[in-house]
Amino acid sequence: MKNSQESGVRSQEFKPFNQLPIAYCLIISLFTIHFSLFAAYASDDFRKRKPQTEETFGEVDDIKAEVIFGRELAARIVGKYGLYEDKNLTRYINLVGKSVSQYANRPEIEFRFAVLNTDMVNAFAAPGGYVFVTNGALKAMEDEAELAAVLAHEVAHVAERHIVKELNIKGSEESPTTGLARMMGGGTDVMRGVFTEMVDRAVEILFEKGLKKQDEMDSDSIATMAITNAGYDPTALKRYLTKISGGEKYTMTIVETHPSFNDRIKGLDAVLAENQLTDKKQSIVKERFNENVKIK
């Protein structure tokens, strides 16, 4: 009897989960879920440190290569047109640009915005987050939603790495930016020559040849989605393009480097209809735009 009792006790002691299967499974579930959420709820500080770890150092190299390459391109864009130096306006353009770039999927890129001192109606983007709008384009705009739309179009080119893809720099690994990083890290005269050639080719794309038609159409679509997510009028880009399509005097460069206005407007109509946004009312923010954009 005693043995039997002892045996029973031993059984309870050593097989506790047979009696508590649900609790056991719940504990496992909770631990697993808990740890799976660590990454999602990690602090900003943790995320800032994460790219510097050894495991992800390659990715950081690629992004740095993209920024350094873009910086070279940006120096040539500023070299060609010059900056329109107005601290208040520059700050305002940056606030609008950063508002829409928050809705891009490239949180690792510090987007920077500036106004170019030319009456030409256009905007440019260099890899790594350097975005420009001309004062001619600003003169043609009527509200902040239109400005947000134009900047969002340029942000989309950066986010989707359109120029880097167009240059077709392939490394042994998959990513075009990996090829860029390797090229820049070569350190030989030959590699320096290749780097120079790549920058010059990228400048030609920006100023003369233009990107692929599909890249431009995609950027229009992405920009419309981004400004809608940010809270601006979804039709702002369409309104802006419709307006400037009538003034070819100032838009020759856009005509040469972009698909026709007609194609872009048709494309935007399709995006708006597909997303049921044609009649959706959101903010245009006219007053603040007029207070900050006073270019003569």
Partner: protein, 159 residues
């Protein structure tokens, strides 16, 4: 009874494993989740930067996802397969990264500083286009915090 318990254990374990597979991470400041793959459909939830979503299906530029106890559609433009990283800069902290980079991948990437030096050398040998680094530095000198941007957007569009 034992079979039922074993099945229950298996089910709960499978649930736990599937719940741990966080497929997508929000990269944008916020990511609205819609009832259908369209920005015009009704918003059923809003995830924020860094939160994980379970990918259930992909349709064009949209993912059907599980988020907390709901399912809905999120734009592919707002999510990525890895947790969002902090901003990568080539203007600061170069020394520390140079050292780490040299240890890890000596041949892959010289350094940010060296590359910038290389760029300036190259500017002297390439006269095809005029360059203005001071203008770029002026752009880089503009400093605006994420909080300022959120406040600015809130004041303008009420979001």
């Amino acid at each position: 009874m034992r079979k039922k318990i074993a099945l229950l254990k298996l089910f709960l374990f499978a649930f736990a494993v599937s719940a741990s597979a966080a497929d997508l991470f929000v990269q944008s400041v916020k990511a609205p989740i819609f009832s259908a793959p369209s920005l015009g459909s009704s918003k059923v939830a809003e995830a924020v930067k860094g939160e994980s979503l379970k990918e259930l299906e992909k349709k064009g530029d949209w993912y059907r996802v599980g988020y907390k106890d709901i399912t809905g559609w999120v734009s592919r433009l707002l999510v990525g397969s890895k947790p969002p990283s902090g901003k990568v800069s080539v203007l600061e902290d170069t020394e520390e990264r140079i050292e780490k980079g040299a240890r890890k991948r000596a041949s892959a990437f010289t350094t940010a500083a060296a590359a910038r030096g290389l760029a300036e050398d190259r500017a002297r040998i390439s006269d095809k286009y005029r360059v203005d680094y001071k203008g770029v530095e002026m752009m880089e000198a503009v400093s605006i915090s994420d909080e300022e941007v959120l406040r600015f957007l809130q004041e303008g569009v009420g979001k």
